[in-house]
Structures are given as structure tokens and as C-alpha cells.
């Protein structure tokens, strides 16, 4: 039987990823980088959910189901966000969010 890694380590990785994501969200200007940061935060949340679902004996199956839903929703959000970025890049030259003034064609 394989020994399970202490769940605290997984929480640590999750916190670090959340911190990196928030850092990118607040300091970056490129819209694509901000989308990267959002994806990182999604992943940190997923890891947290899976690790906490593993805590109980027996583990909670609903945690994994929830993460499956979250991954699908994150993919959906990324597709809509990338469509908006492409639209913005057609209307404006740059996708710098602080210089972005036009969203309507």
C-alpha cells in the first residue's frame, strides 16, 4: 500500500499557486497574461478541493465530481475570454488592458 503524502503539502502548493495567480492578476497589463493568472487560480482551487475531499475516511466522491464540473466551466470561460481578446485585438491595436477603451465596433 502506497503511503499518502501529507495533505498539508498539497495545500502549500495550492496557496503558492493562488499567490502567483493574484500577483499576475494585479501587476500584468496584457489581457492574455491576466487570463493565464485566472487559469492558475482555477487550478489552485481544484487542487484544494481534491485534497480536502481526500481528507475524510472514506474519501468524498462529490469532490472529484465538483472538480470535473469546475474544469469544464474553466474551459468554457477560457473560450469566451479568448474570443473577447481576439475581438479587442481587432478593434484596438494593443491588448493592454489599461489602454483599452473600445469594446464596441
Amino acid at each position: 500500500m502506497r503511503k499518502l503524502e501529507p495533505l498539508t503539502s498539497f495545500f502549500a502548493v495550492s496557496v503558492i499557486l493562488l499567490g502567483i495567480g493574484i500577483y499576475g492578476l494585479t501587476t500584468k497589463r496584457n489581457a492574455l497574461r491576466i487570463l493565464f493568472s485566472i487559469e492558475l487560480i482555477y487550478n489552485a482551487a481544484n487542487l484544494n478541493i481534491i485534497a480536502f475531499a481526500r481528507l475524510r475516511d472514506p474519501p468524498i466522491v462529490a469532490g472529484q465530481v465538483l472538480v470535473l464540473f469546475t474544469i469544464a466551466l474553466a474551459a468554457m470561460e477560457a473560450s469566451v475570454g479568448l474570443a473577447i481578446i481576439m475581438l479587442v485585438s481587432r478593434l484596438n491595436v494593443d491588448i493592454d488592458l489599461r489602454k483599452l477603451t473600445r469594446l464596441k465596433g
Binding site: 502548493v13 497574461r33 469544464a72 477560457a78 481576439m86 493592454d96
Partner: protein, 164 residues
């Protein structure tokens, strides 16, 4: 106690997450993001969530990273980020936050959250699929509706000719 596999996976995940945000070229950033997702799938494997890990690889690396790469190519080269200026205040804040987190982490003992070694039904593929279909069948259908709506919305947004 700390498993070598876990250490390697965690290091790769965190390092490539930093690289995804800090790489000068957005293409390299997208590739690093893909490596982050791969490391995350490995961490899911370590937590005995093998189906979720497979789903993560299929959806994130198969769909999201490819979409991001396409968008990076279509949007074209961007002006680089202005070099980050490190103010004294932000350095102090970073120091304080890491000190706080480090103290909290060291106060928590490594075995404060002992998961059961044997996963059993909870990580079984059969158990997972039974729960998914029997208990969460209706949300699953709604999820497919939401996905269809998102696809239609993205197509409408990115449509080439906008007359209306």
C-alpha cells in the same frame, strides 16, 4: 516523509507557473502554462484522482492551451511588459506575507491533515461514475447546455464580419 515524486511535481508546477507569467514571449508563456497543467494532473494522480487527472490533461492541454496558442498567434506580437519596478514598500509587503505564511505553515504540523492511505470506493472509477450519473445527472445535462451556450457566444463574439 515527503515523497520525491511529489517534490519534483510541485517544483515543476510552481516554477512553470512563474515562468508562464514572466516569460517575455507569450508563446513560451503558453507552453509553460501547459507544463503547469501537466504538473497539476500529476498532483491529482498522487491524490488518487486518476479520472480527474485524465480529464485535466484532455481538457486543459488538449483544448485550452491549444486555444491560447492560436490566440497568441492571431493577436500577433505584443509590446513587452514594462520592466517591473520593485518599490521598497512592495518588497516589505512580500517579506511580511511570506513570513506570515511561513509561520502559519510551520505551526501546522505535517500530519495535521492525515488522509486515509487506502482510498477504496472514494477513488474508484466505478464509484465515481455511479455518483456522477446517479446523483449529479441533472447538473451534468445543465453543464452541457452551458457549454453549448458558451460555444455559440464565443462564435458570435469572434465572428469575422460584424454588420449589426
Amino acid at each position: 516523509m515527503t515523497d520525491l515524486t511529489f517534490l519534483a511535481l510541485a517544483t515543476v508546477t510552481v516554477a512553470s507557473a512563474i515562468l508562464a507569467l514572466e516569460a517575455r514571449d507569450l508563446v513560451y508563456g503558453a507552453a509553460a502554462l501547459g507544463i503547469t497543467f501537466l504538473g497539476m494532473a500529476g498532483l491529482f494522480f498522487l491524490l488518487d484522482a486518476s479520472y480527474v487527472a485524465t480529464f485535466q490533461i484532455a481538457v486543459y492541454i488538449g483544448a485550452v492551451v491549444v486555444l491560447i496558442l492560436f490566440t497568441v498567434m492571431l493577436v500577433g506580437p505584443q509590446m513587452g511588459e514594462p520592466p517591473m519596478e520593485l518599490k521598497r514598500l512592495s518588497l516589505l509587503t512580500a517579506l511580511l506575507v511570506s513570513l506570515l505564511l511561513g509561520t502559519a505553515g510551520s505551526l501546522t504540523s505535517a500530519t495535521a491533515f492525515p488522509g486515509p492511505d487506502d482510498c477504496g470506493f472514494g477513488c474508484d472509477l466505478i464509484g465515481l461514475s455511479k455518483t456522477l450519473i446517479n446523483q449529479y445527472g441533472v447538473p451534468l445535462e445543465f453543464l452541457s447546455l452551458v457549454l453549448a451556450a458558451a460555444v455559440i457566444g464565443a462564435l458570435t463574439l469572434a465572428k469575422a464580419d460584424r454588420k449589426g
